[in-house]
Symmetry: C2
DNA sequence: ATTGCTGAATCGTTGAACGTTTCCCAAGTC
DNA sequence: GACTTGGGAAACGTTCAACGATTCAGCAAT
Protein backbone atom coordinates (compact mmCIF):
# COMPACT_ATOMS: atom_id res chain seq x y z
CA UNK A 1 0.00 0.00 0.00
CA UNK A 2 2.10 2.75 -1.21
CA UNK A 3 4.31 3.29 1.75
CA UNK A 4 5.60 6.78 2.08
CA UNK A 5 8.59 5.70 0.09
CA UNK A 6 10.93 8.12 1.79
CA UNK A 7 13.93 8.09 -0.42
CA UNK A 8 11.79 8.62 -3.45
CA UNK A 9 14.58 10.25 -5.28
CA UNK A 10 14.10 7.84 -8.09
CA UNK A 11 10.45 7.12 -8.21
CA UNK A 12 10.21 8.07 -11.83
CA UNK A 13 9.56 4.45 -12.64
CA UNK A 14 6.20 4.41 -11.00
CA UNK A 15 4.61 7.53 -12.28
CA UNK A 16 1.53 6.67 -14.25
CA UNK A 17 3.13 8.53 -17.10
CA UNK A 18 -0.37 9.50 -17.96
CA UNK A 19 0.88 12.33 -20.03
CA UNK A 20 -2.13 12.87 -22.22
CA UNK A 21 -0.28 13.18 -25.44
CA UNK A 22 -2.14 15.36 -27.83
CA UNK A 23 -4.11 17.03 -25.10
CA UNK A 24 -7.79 17.29 -25.91
CA UNK A 25 -9.04 14.42 -27.90
CA UNK A 26 -9.29 15.26 -31.50
CA UNK A 27 -12.89 14.77 -32.48
CA UNK A 28 -13.80 12.29 -35.07
CA UNK A 29 -11.02 10.23 -36.54
CA UNK A 30 -9.56 8.82 -33.42
CA UNK A 31 -7.05 6.25 -34.45
CA UNK A 32 -6.54 3.18 -32.35
CA UNK A 33 -3.10 4.31 -31.32
CA UNK A 34 -1.32 2.00 -28.95
CA UNK A 35 -0.41 3.98 -25.90
CA UNK A 36 1.71 1.11 -24.79
CA UNK A 37 3.46 2.16 -21.64
CA UNK A 38 6.65 0.17 -21.48
CA UNK A 39 6.68 -2.15 -18.52
CA UNK A 40 8.68 -1.10 -15.50
CA UNK A 41 11.23 -3.79 -16.22
CA UNK A 42 11.69 -2.44 -19.72
CA UNK A 43 12.15 1.07 -18.40
CA UNK A 44 14.75 -0.11 -15.94
CA UNK A 45 16.51 -1.92 -18.77
CA UNK A 46 16.58 1.16 -20.96
CA UNK A 47 17.91 3.22 -18.10
CA UNK A 48 20.72 0.76 -17.49
CA UNK A 49 21.36 0.46 -21.19
CA UNK A 50 21.74 4.20 -21.35
CA UNK A 51 24.12 4.34 -18.43
CA UNK A 52 26.22 1.64 -19.98
CA UNK A 53 26.22 3.38 -23.34
CA UNK A 54 27.43 6.67 -21.96
CA UNK A 55 30.08 5.07 -19.85
CA UNK A 56 28.52 5.71 -16.48
CA UNK A 57 28.78 1.99 -15.87
CA UNK A 58 32.13 0.72 -16.98
CA UNK A 59 32.72 -2.82 -18.25
CA UNK A 60 33.28 -5.26 -15.45
CA UNK A 61 31.17 -3.35 -12.97
CA UNK A 62 29.10 -5.62 -10.81
CA UNK A 63 25.41 -4.89 -10.70
CA UNK A 64 23.90 -6.01 -7.41
CA UNK A 65 20.22 -6.57 -7.71
CA UNK A 66 19.30 -5.52 -4.23
CA UNK A 67 21.25 -2.30 -4.44
CA UNK A 68 19.75 -1.45 -7.79
CA UNK A 69 16.23 -2.33 -6.76
CA UNK A 70 16.51 0.03 -3.83
CA UNK A 71 18.20 2.75 -5.81
CA UNK A 72 15.66 2.69 -8.58
CA UNK A 73 12.71 2.19 -6.33
CA UNK A 74 11.58 -1.05 -7.92
CA UNK A 75 11.44 -4.58 -6.66
CA UNK A 76 14.26 -7.03 -6.93
CA UNK A 77 12.29 -9.24 -9.28
CA UNK A 78 11.81 -6.39 -11.68
CA UNK A 79 15.50 -5.63 -11.71
CA UNK A 80 16.01 -9.26 -12.43
CA UNK A 81 13.78 -9.10 -15.47
CA UNK A 82 15.67 -6.08 -16.70
CA UNK A 83 18.87 -8.05 -16.35
CA UNK A 84 17.42 -10.81 -18.47
CA UNK A 85 16.72 -8.31 -21.20
CA UNK A 86 20.20 -6.86 -21.09
CA UNK A 87 21.78 -10.28 -20.94
CA UNK A 88 20.01 -11.28 -24.13
CA UNK A 89 21.66 -8.29 -25.76
CA UNK A 90 25.04 -9.28 -24.39
CA UNK A 91 25.38 -5.97 -22.60
CA UNK A 92 25.72 -7.77 -19.31
CA UNK A 93 26.86 -11.27 -18.49
CA UNK A 94 25.32 -13.44 -15.83
CA UNK A 95 27.55 -15.52 -13.66
CA UNK A 96 25.47 -18.08 -11.78
CA UNK A 97 25.26 -17.32 -8.11
CA UNK A 98 27.76 -14.55 -8.50
CA UNK A 99 25.84 -11.79 -10.12
CA UNK A 100 25.65 -9.85 -13.34
CA UNK A 101 28.45 -7.70 -14.64
CA UNK A 102 28.64 -5.13 -17.35
CA UNK A 103 30.09 -7.01 -20.28
CA UNK A 104 33.68 -6.37 -21.06
CA UNK A 105 34.90 -7.35 -24.46
CA UNK A 106 38.23 -8.78 -25.40
CA UNK A 107 40.03 -8.67 -28.71
CA UNK A 108 38.34 -11.87 -29.80
CA UNK A 109 34.99 -10.24 -29.16
CA UNK A 110 36.02 -7.31 -31.28
CA UNK A 111 36.77 -9.59 -34.17
CA UNK A 112 33.50 -11.38 -33.63
CA UNK A 113 31.49 -8.20 -33.65
CA UNK A 114 33.13 -7.08 -36.86
CA UNK A 115 32.40 -10.44 -38.41
CA UNK A 116 28.74 -9.83 -37.75
CA UNK A 117 28.96 -6.32 -39.10
CA UNK A 118 30.65 -7.48 -42.29
CA UNK A 119 27.90 -10.02 -42.83
CA UNK A 120 24.99 -7.73 -42.16
CA UNK A 121 26.12 -4.38 -43.46
CA UNK A 122 27.66 -5.63 -46.65
CA UNK A 123 24.63 -7.74 -47.40
CA UNK A 124 22.30 -4.82 -46.86
CA UNK A 125 24.36 -2.55 -49.07
CA UNK A 126 24.62 -5.15 -51.81
CA UNK A 127 20.86 -5.46 -51.83
CA UNK A 128 20.47 -1.77 -52.50
CA UNK A 129 17.69 0.31 -51.06
CA UNK A 130 14.86 2.69 -51.73
CA UNK A 131 15.66 6.33 -52.52
CA UNK A 132 14.35 7.32 -49.09
CA UNK A 133 16.58 4.85 -47.29
CA UNK A 134 19.56 6.14 -49.25
CA UNK A 135 18.51 9.64 -48.35
CA UNK A 136 18.79 8.84 -44.67
CA UNK A 137 22.25 7.45 -45.30
CA UNK A 138 23.10 10.78 -46.83
CA UNK A 139 21.60 12.51 -43.82
CA UNK A 140 23.92 10.60 -41.53
CA UNK A 141 26.91 11.61 -43.65
CA UNK A 142 25.98 15.27 -43.40
CA UNK A 143 25.40 14.89 -39.68
CA UNK A 144 28.95 13.64 -39.43
CA UNK A 145 30.30 16.57 -41.41
CA UNK A 146 28.54 19.04 -39.17
CA UNK A 147 29.87 17.35 -36.06
CA UNK A 148 33.35 17.38 -37.51
CA UNK A 149 33.10 21.05 -38.35
CA UNK A 150 31.96 21.76 -34.82
CA UNK A 151 34.76 19.68 -33.41
CA UNK A 152 32.21 17.56 -31.61
CA UNK A 153 33.94 14.20 -31.45
CA UNK A 154 31.13 12.76 -29.38
CA UNK A 155 28.60 13.66 -32.04
CA UNK A 156 31.00 12.37 -34.66
CA UNK A 157 30.92 8.89 -33.23
CA UNK A 158 27.19 9.09 -32.90
CA UNK A 159 26.83 10.14 -36.50
CA UNK A 160 28.99 7.26 -37.59
CA UNK A 161 26.70 4.84 -35.80
CA UNK A 162 23.73 6.46 -37.48
CA UNK A 163 25.46 6.03 -40.79
CA UNK A 164 25.99 2.32 -40.37
CA UNK A 165 22.55 1.90 -38.91
CA UNK A 166 21.14 3.59 -41.99
CA UNK A 167 23.10 1.21 -44.19
CA UNK A 168 21.42 -1.88 -42.79
CA UNK A 169 18.10 -0.07 -42.68
CA UNK A 170 18.31 -0.16 -46.46
CA UNK A 171 17.38 -3.81 -46.29
CA UNK A 172 14.22 -2.80 -44.42
CA UNK A 173 14.40 -5.95 -42.37
CA UNK A 174 13.06 -5.77 -38.86
CA UNK A 175 15.33 -8.54 -37.66
CA UNK A 176 18.43 -7.18 -39.33
CA UNK A 177 17.76 -3.82 -37.76
CA UNK A 178 17.45 -5.15 -34.23
CA UNK A 179 20.58 -7.24 -34.67
CA UNK A 180 22.44 -4.20 -35.90
CA UNK A 181 21.28 -2.00 -33.06
CA UNK A 182 22.44 -4.61 -30.58
CA UNK A 183 25.79 -4.80 -32.29
CA UNK A 184 26.13 -1.04 -32.21
CA UNK A 185 25.26 -1.08 -28.52
CA UNK A 186 28.02 -3.60 -27.98
CA UNK A 187 30.45 -1.39 -29.82
CA UNK A 188 29.73 1.48 -27.49
CA UNK A 189 31.09 -0.79 -24.79
CA UNK A 190 34.63 -0.39 -26.01
CA UNK A 191 34.30 2.93 -27.75
CA UNK A 192 34.94 4.70 -24.53
CA UNK A 193 38.47 3.43 -24.40
CA UNK A 194 39.17 4.23 -28.01
CA UNK A 195 40.91 7.53 -27.77
CA UNK A 196 39.49 9.73 -30.43
CA UNK A 197 42.14 9.72 -33.05
CA UNK A 198 41.35 12.74 -35.15
CA UNK A 199 43.17 11.42 -38.14
CA UNK A 200 41.22 8.23 -38.23
CA UNK A 201 37.93 10.01 -37.89
CA UNK A 202 38.78 12.29 -40.76
CA UNK A 203 39.61 9.22 -42.73
CA UNK A 204 36.36 7.41 -42.21
CA UNK A 205 34.37 10.57 -42.77
CA UNK A 206 35.67 10.70 -46.30
CA UNK A 207 35.05 7.03 -46.69
CA UNK A 208 31.44 7.39 -45.64
CA UNK A 209 31.04 10.10 -48.21
CA UNK A 210 32.41 7.86 -50.93
CA UNK A 211 30.18 4.97 -49.93
CA UNK A 212 27.18 7.23 -49.93
CA UNK A 213 28.07 8.63 -53.34
CA UNK A 214 28.39 5.14 -54.74
CA UNK A 215 24.97 4.29 -53.39
CA UNK A 216 23.43 7.41 -54.84
CA UNK A 217 24.98 6.49 -58.14
CA UNK A 218 23.37 3.07 -57.90
CA UNK A 219 26.68 1.27 -57.82
CA UNK A 220 25.94 -1.03 -54.89
CA UNK A 221 28.87 -3.28 -55.66
CA UNK A 222 31.37 -0.48 -55.36
CA UNK A 223 29.70 0.70 -52.17
CA UNK A 224 29.89 -2.79 -50.70
CA UNK A 225 33.53 -3.06 -51.63
CA UNK A 226 34.43 0.20 -49.96
CA UNK A 227 32.35 -0.63 -46.92
CA UNK A 228 34.15 -3.93 -46.56
CA UNK A 229 37.55 -2.34 -46.72
CA UNK A 230 36.44 0.27 -44.21
CA UNK A 231 35.26 -2.40 -41.79
CA UNK A 232 38.56 -4.20 -42.10
CA UNK A 233 40.51 -1.07 -41.35
CA UNK A 234 38.20 -0.13 -38.52
CA UNK A 235 38.61 -3.54 -36.94
CA UNK A 236 42.33 -3.24 -37.26
CA UNK A 237 42.22 0.14 -35.61
CA UNK A 238 40.04 -0.99 -32.72
CA UNK A 239 42.13 -4.09 -32.22
CA UNK A 240 45.28 -2.01 -32.07
CA UNK A 241 43.77 0.34 -29.53
CA UNK A 242 42.69 -2.54 -27.35
CA UNK A 243 45.89 -4.53 -27.36
CA UNK A 244 48.06 -3.36 -24.57
CA UNK B 1 -8.23 -24.76 -27.15
CA UNK B 2 -5.64 -25.93 -29.43
CA UNK B 3 -3.43 -28.72 -28.44
CA UNK B 4 -3.73 -29.21 -24.79
CA UNK B 5 -0.44 -30.61 -23.81
CA UNK B 6 -0.79 -34.26 -24.67
CA UNK B 7 1.88 -35.62 -22.45
CA UNK B 8 1.13 -34.50 -18.95
CA UNK B 9 4.55 -35.56 -18.00
CA UNK B 10 5.09 -33.41 -15.02
CA UNK B 11 8.79 -33.33 -15.33
CA UNK B 12 10.48 -32.23 -12.19
CA UNK B 13 12.84 -29.42 -12.79
CA UNK B 14 14.64 -29.77 -9.57
CA UNK B 15 16.47 -32.96 -10.24
CA UNK B 16 20.02 -33.04 -11.44
CA UNK B 17 20.67 -32.16 -15.00
CA UNK B 18 24.31 -32.54 -15.75
CA UNK B 19 24.19 -30.61 -18.95
CA UNK B 20 27.31 -29.01 -20.24
CA UNK B 21 27.60 -25.29 -20.01
CA UNK B 22 28.99 -23.81 -23.14
CA UNK B 23 31.18 -20.91 -22.33
CA UNK B 24 30.82 -18.68 -19.36
CA UNK B 25 31.79 -15.69 -21.40
CA UNK B 26 34.99 -14.14 -20.44
CA UNK B 27 34.89 -10.83 -18.71
CA UNK B 28 38.59 -11.08 -18.43
CA UNK B 29 39.63 -13.06 -21.43
CA UNK B 30 39.90 -16.06 -19.16
CA UNK B 31 37.68 -19.04 -19.78
CA UNK B 32 37.43 -20.61 -16.41
CA UNK B 33 35.66 -23.92 -16.58
CA UNK B 34 32.51 -24.04 -14.59
CA UNK B 35 30.22 -26.88 -13.73
CA UNK B 36 27.24 -24.66 -13.74
CA UNK B 37 23.85 -26.27 -13.59
CA UNK B 38 21.51 -24.34 -15.83
CA UNK B 39 19.10 -22.35 -13.75
CA UNK B 40 15.57 -23.60 -13.39
CA UNK B 41 14.31 -20.79 -15.56
CA UNK B 42 16.71 -21.83 -18.29
CA UNK B 43 15.56 -25.42 -18.06
CA UNK B 44 11.95 -24.37 -18.31
CA UNK B 45 12.85 -22.27 -21.33
CA UNK B 46 14.59 -25.16 -23.05
CA UNK B 47 11.65 -27.40 -22.36
CA UNK B 48 9.23 -24.93 -23.89
CA UNK B 49 11.61 -24.31 -26.77
CA UNK B 50 11.63 -28.00 -27.44
CA UNK B 51 7.86 -28.32 -27.36
CA UNK B 52 7.55 -25.42 -29.74
CA UNK B 53 10.16 -26.89 -32.05
CA UNK B 54 8.45 -30.24 -32.32
CA UNK B 55 5.06 -28.74 -32.83
CA UNK B 56 3.54 -29.70 -29.51
CA UNK B 57 2.79 -26.04 -29.02
CA UNK B 58 1.39 -24.56 -32.17
CA UNK B 59 1.82 -20.92 -33.18
CA UNK B 60 -0.77 -18.71 -31.60
CA UNK B 61 -1.18 -20.86 -28.52
CA UNK B 62 -1.53 -18.87 -25.38
CA UNK B 63 0.85 -19.73 -22.58
CA UNK B 64 -0.70 -18.94 -19.23
CA UNK B 65 1.94 -18.45 -16.61
CA UNK B 66 -0.05 -19.76 -13.71
CA UNK B 67 -1.07 -22.92 -15.52
CA UNK B 68 2.50 -23.55 -16.63
CA UNK B 69 3.96 -22.84 -13.25
CA UNK B 70 1.67 -25.41 -11.71
CA UNK B 71 2.16 -27.92 -14.47
CA UNK B 72 5.93 -27.71 -14.37
CA UNK B 73 6.17 -27.48 -10.64
CA UNK B 74 7.94 -24.15 -10.59
CA UNK B 75 6.92 -20.75 -9.42
CA UNK B 76 5.19 -18.17 -11.54
CA UNK B 77 8.17 -15.86 -11.38
CA UNK B 78 10.40 -18.54 -12.80
CA UNK B 79 8.05 -19.19 -15.68
CA UNK B 80 8.10 -15.49 -16.26
CA UNK B 81 11.87 -15.49 -16.57
CA UNK B 82 11.69 -18.34 -19.02
CA UNK B 83 9.23 -16.30 -21.07
CA UNK B 84 11.68 -13.42 -21.13
CA UNK B 85 14.30 -15.71 -22.57
CA UNK B 86 12.01 -17.07 -25.25
CA UNK B 87 10.72 -13.62 -26.08
CA UNK B 88 14.24 -12.43 -26.76
CA UNK B 89 14.50 -15.22 -29.30
CA UNK B 90 11.21 -14.22 -30.91
CA UNK B 91 9.78 -17.66 -30.22
CA UNK B 92 6.99 -16.13 -28.20
CA UNK B 93 5.48 -12.67 -28.26
CA UNK B 94 4.41 -10.75 -25.24
CA UNK B 95 1.21 -8.80 -25.35
CA UNK B 96 1.08 -6.44 -22.38
CA UNK B 97 -1.52 -7.46 -19.88
CA UNK B 98 -2.76 -10.16 -22.20
CA UNK B 99 -0.16 -12.83 -21.99
CA UNK B 100 2.45 -14.53 -24.09
CA UNK B 101 1.68 -16.50 -27.21
CA UNK B 102 3.71 -18.82 -29.33
CA UNK B 103 4.88 -16.64 -32.19
CA UNK B 104 3.11 -17.11 -35.45
CA UNK B 105 4.85 -15.82 -38.52
CA UNK B 106 3.32 -14.20 -41.54
CA UNK B 107 4.63 -14.01 -45.08
CA UNK B 108 6.45 -10.79 -44.28
CA UNK B 109 8.24 -12.57 -41.45
CA UNK B 110 9.25 -15.30 -43.84
CA UNK B 111 10.85 -12.77 -46.12
CA UNK B 112 12.53 -11.14 -43.16
CA UNK B 113 13.97 -14.38 -41.91
CA UNK B 114 15.35 -15.20 -45.31
CA UNK B 115 16.88 -11.76 -45.52
CA UNK B 116 18.81 -12.54 -42.38
CA UNK B 117 19.80 -15.92 -43.71
CA UNK B 118 21.05 -14.48 -46.97
CA UNK B 119 23.18 -12.00 -45.07
CA UNK B 120 24.66 -14.43 -42.61
CA UNK B 121 25.01 -17.65 -44.54
CA UNK B 122 26.36 -16.11 -47.71
CA UNK B 123 28.86 -14.06 -45.77
CA UNK B 124 30.07 -17.08 -43.87
CA UNK B 125 30.45 -19.12 -47.03
CA UNK B 126 32.27 -16.32 -48.83
CA UNK B 127 34.74 -16.15 -45.99
CA UNK B 128 35.62 -19.77 -46.40
CA UNK B 129 36.42 -22.04 -43.51
CA UNK B 130 38.86 -24.45 -42.00
CA UNK B 131 39.06 -28.01 -43.37
CA UNK B 132 37.38 -29.28 -40.21
CA UNK B 133 34.47 -26.87 -40.53
CA UNK B 134 34.03 -27.92 -44.15
CA UNK B 135 34.16 -31.51 -43.02
CA UNK B 136 31.18 -30.98 -40.77
CA UNK B 137 29.33 -29.42 -43.68
CA UNK B 138 30.06 -32.61 -45.57
CA UNK B 139 28.82 -34.60 -42.59
CA UNK B 140 25.51 -32.79 -42.71
CA UNK B 141 25.17 -33.55 -46.40
CA UNK B 142 25.73 -37.23 -45.80
CA UNK B 143 23.30 -37.16 -42.92
CA UNK B 144 20.72 -35.82 -45.33
CA UNK B 145 21.43 -38.52 -47.84
CA UNK B 146 20.98 -41.21 -45.24
CA UNK B 147 17.71 -39.71 -44.09
CA UNK B 148 16.51 -39.53 -47.67
CA UNK B 149 17.45 -43.14 -48.28
CA UNK B 150 15.55 -44.13 -45.16
CA UNK B 151 12.58 -42.07 -46.19
CA UNK B 152 12.84 -40.16 -42.97
CA UNK B 153 11.46 -36.78 -43.90
CA UNK B 154 11.70 -35.59 -40.32
CA UNK B 155 15.39 -36.37 -40.26
CA UNK B 156 15.75 -34.82 -43.67
CA UNK B 157 14.60 -31.45 -42.43
CA UNK B 158 16.81 -31.81 -39.42
CA UNK B 159 19.81 -32.60 -41.58
CA UNK B 160 19.10 -29.58 -43.70
CA UNK B 161 19.16 -27.36 -40.63
CA UNK B 162 22.44 -28.95 -39.62
CA UNK B 163 23.78 -28.22 -43.06
CA UNK B 164 22.99 -24.55 -42.91
CA UNK B 165 24.14 -24.35 -39.33
CA UNK B 166 27.45 -25.86 -40.41
CA UNK B 167 27.74 -23.26 -43.15
CA UNK B 168 27.68 -20.34 -40.76
CA UNK B 169 29.84 -22.26 -38.30
CA UNK B 170 32.54 -21.91 -40.94
CA UNK B 171 32.91 -18.29 -39.85
CA UNK B 172 33.60 -19.55 -36.34
CA UNK B 173 31.84 -16.56 -34.90
CA UNK B 174 30.09 -17.03 -31.60
CA UNK B 175 27.60 -14.28 -32.32
CA UNK B 176 26.87 -15.41 -35.84
CA UNK B 177 26.24 -18.90 -34.55
CA UNK B 178 23.74 -17.85 -31.94
CA UNK B 179 21.95 -15.62 -34.41
CA UNK B 180 21.75 -18.49 -36.83
CA UNK B 181 20.46 -20.94 -34.29
CA UNK B 182 17.75 -18.49 -33.34
CA UNK B 183 16.82 -18.05 -36.96
CA UNK B 184 16.66 -21.79 -37.44
CA UNK B 185 14.45 -22.04 -34.38
CA UNK B 186 12.14 -19.50 -35.92
CA UNK B 187 12.01 -21.47 -39.11
CA UNK B 188 10.82 -24.53 -37.27
CA UNK B 189 7.80 -22.44 -36.37
CA UNK B 190 6.43 -22.64 -39.85
CA UNK B 191 8.08 -25.80 -41.01
CA UNK B 192 5.32 -27.83 -39.51
CA UNK B 193 2.83 -26.44 -41.96
CA UNK B 194 5.09 -26.93 -44.91
CA UNK B 195 3.85 -30.18 -46.35
CA UNK B 196 6.86 -32.23 -47.14
CA UNK B 197 7.13 -31.94 -50.84
CA UNK B 198 9.33 -34.82 -51.81
CA UNK B 199 10.34 -33.23 -55.08
CA UNK B 200 11.59 -30.13 -53.41
CA UNK B 201 13.53 -32.03 -50.84
CA UNK B 202 15.23 -34.06 -53.51
CA UNK B 203 16.05 -30.83 -55.22
CA UNK B 204 17.74 -29.16 -52.30
CA UNK B 205 19.55 -32.33 -51.38
CA UNK B 206 21.37 -32.17 -54.68
CA UNK B 207 21.96 -28.49 -54.21
CA UNK B 208 23.56 -29.05 -50.82
CA UNK B 209 25.85 -31.58 -52.39
CA UNK B 210 26.91 -29.09 -55.05
CA UNK B 211 27.52 -26.37 -52.50
CA UNK B 212 29.58 -28.73 -50.41
CA UNK B 213 31.60 -29.83 -53.41
CA UNK B 214 32.34 -26.24 -54.31
CA UNK B 215 33.55 -25.61 -50.79
CA UNK B 216 35.74 -28.68 -50.81
CA UNK B 217 37.20 -27.46 -54.08
CA UNK B 218 37.95 -24.14 -52.47
CA UNK B 219 35.65 -22.22 -54.77
CA UNK B 220 33.87 -20.19 -52.13
CA UNK B 221 32.44 -17.77 -54.66
CA UNK B 222 30.67 -20.52 -56.55
CA UNK B 223 29.39 -21.96 -53.30
CA UNK B 224 28.05 -18.59 -52.25
CA UNK B 225 26.35 -18.13 -55.57
CA UNK B 226 24.62 -21.47 -55.39
CA UNK B 227 23.65 -20.93 -51.78
CA UNK B 228 22.11 -17.61 -52.65
CA UNK B 229 20.04 -19.06 -55.42
CA UNK B 230 18.96 -21.88 -53.15
CA UNK B 231 17.83 -19.44 -50.48
CA UNK B 232 15.83 -17.51 -53.04
CA UNK B 233 14.10 -20.62 -54.25
CA UNK B 234 13.50 -21.83 -50.73
CA UNK B 235 11.93 -18.54 -49.75
CA UNK B 236 9.73 -18.70 -52.79
CA UNK B 237 8.69 -22.20 -51.87
CA UNK B 238 7.88 -21.34 -48.27
CA UNK B 239 6.04 -18.22 -49.28
CA UNK B 240 3.95 -20.21 -51.72
CA UNK B 241 3.10 -22.80 -49.10
CA UNK B 242 2.04 -20.13 -46.66
CA UNK B 243 -0.12 -18.07 -48.95
CA UNK B 244 -3.48 -19.66 -49.04
C1' DA C 1 52.33 -21.80 3.07
C1' DT C 2 48.47 -24.78 2.63
C1' DT C 3 44.28 -26.55 4.23
C1' DG C 4 39.85 -26.24 6.29
C1' DC C 5 36.18 -23.92 8.62
C1' DT C 6 32.91 -20.32 9.67
C1' DG C 7 30.06 -16.31 8.66
C1' DA C 8 28.41 -12.64 5.89
C1' DA C 9 26.79 -11.25 1.46
C1' DT C 10 24.16 -12.45 -2.63
C1' DC C 11 21.88 -15.02 -5.68
C1' DG C 12 17.99 -18.36 -7.06
C1' DT C 13 13.50 -19.54 -6.20
C1' DT C 14 9.31 -19.67 -3.93
C1' DG C 15 4.69 -18.16 -2.34
C1' DA C 16 1.36 -14.89 -1.55
C1' DA C 17 -0.63 -10.57 -2.03
C1' DC C 18 -2.70 -6.39 -4.44
C1' DG C 19 -3.68 -3.12 -8.09
C1' DT C 20 -4.77 -3.04 -13.11
C1' DT C 21 -6.01 -4.35 -17.54
C1' DT C 22 -8.67 -7.24 -20.51
C1' DC C 23 -12.26 -9.92 -21.77
C1' DC C 24 -16.85 -11.95 -21.61
C1' DC C 25 -21.53 -11.71 -20.90
C1' DA C 26 -25.70 -10.05 -19.37
C1' DA C 27 -28.68 -6.02 -18.82
C1' DG C 28 -30.38 -1.88 -20.62
C1' DT C 29 -31.33 1.65 -24.29
C1' DC C 30 -32.63 3.53 -28.81
C1' DG D 1 -32.52 -6.24 -33.27
C1' DA D 2 -28.10 -3.78 -32.94
C1' DC D 3 -25.41 -1.11 -30.04
C1' DT D 4 -23.74 0.65 -25.61
C1' DT D 5 -23.09 -0.03 -20.94
C1' DG D 6 -21.78 -2.17 -16.65
C1' DG D 7 -20.32 -5.66 -13.77
C1' DG D 8 -17.09 -9.58 -12.63
C1' DA D 9 -13.97 -13.04 -13.40
C1' DA D 10 -9.51 -14.12 -15.20
C1' DA D 11 -4.86 -13.08 -15.95
C1' DC D 12 -1.04 -10.08 -15.92
C1' DG D 13 2.44 -6.71 -13.69
C1' DT D 14 4.68 -5.71 -9.64
C1' DT D 15 5.87 -5.92 -4.95
C1' DC D 16 7.31 -8.00 -0.60
C1' DA D 17 9.14 -11.31 2.54
C1' DA D 18 11.35 -15.48 3.28
C1' DC D 19 14.50 -19.65 2.87
C1' DG D 20 18.00 -22.59 0.95
C1' DA D 21 22.17 -22.58 -1.82
C1' DT D 22 26.51 -20.71 -3.43
C1' DT D 23 30.42 -17.81 -3.21
C1' DC D 24 33.93 -15.34 -1.05
C1' DA D 25 36.93 -13.49 2.44
C1' DG D 26 39.13 -14.00 6.66
C1' DC D 27 41.00 -16.63 10.23
C1' DA D 28 42.37 -20.65 12.71
C1' DA D 29 44.74 -25.04 12.63
C1' DT D 30 47.92 -28.30 10.62
Amino acid sequence: MAPANPNAENSRFHEPAAAPQGGPASPGGMSRLRVAVPSVATRVATELRLQIAEGALLPGTKLKEEALSEELGVSRNTVREAFAELASERLVVRQPNRGVFVASLGVNDIHDVYTVRRAIEVSAVRGGGSPESIASVRAAVEEGKRAAAAGDSEGLGSANQHFHGALVAMASSERLNTIMSQVLAEMRLFFHKASVDGGFYQDYLEENEKICKALEAGDTELAAERLLSYLDRSEEHQTAVHTS
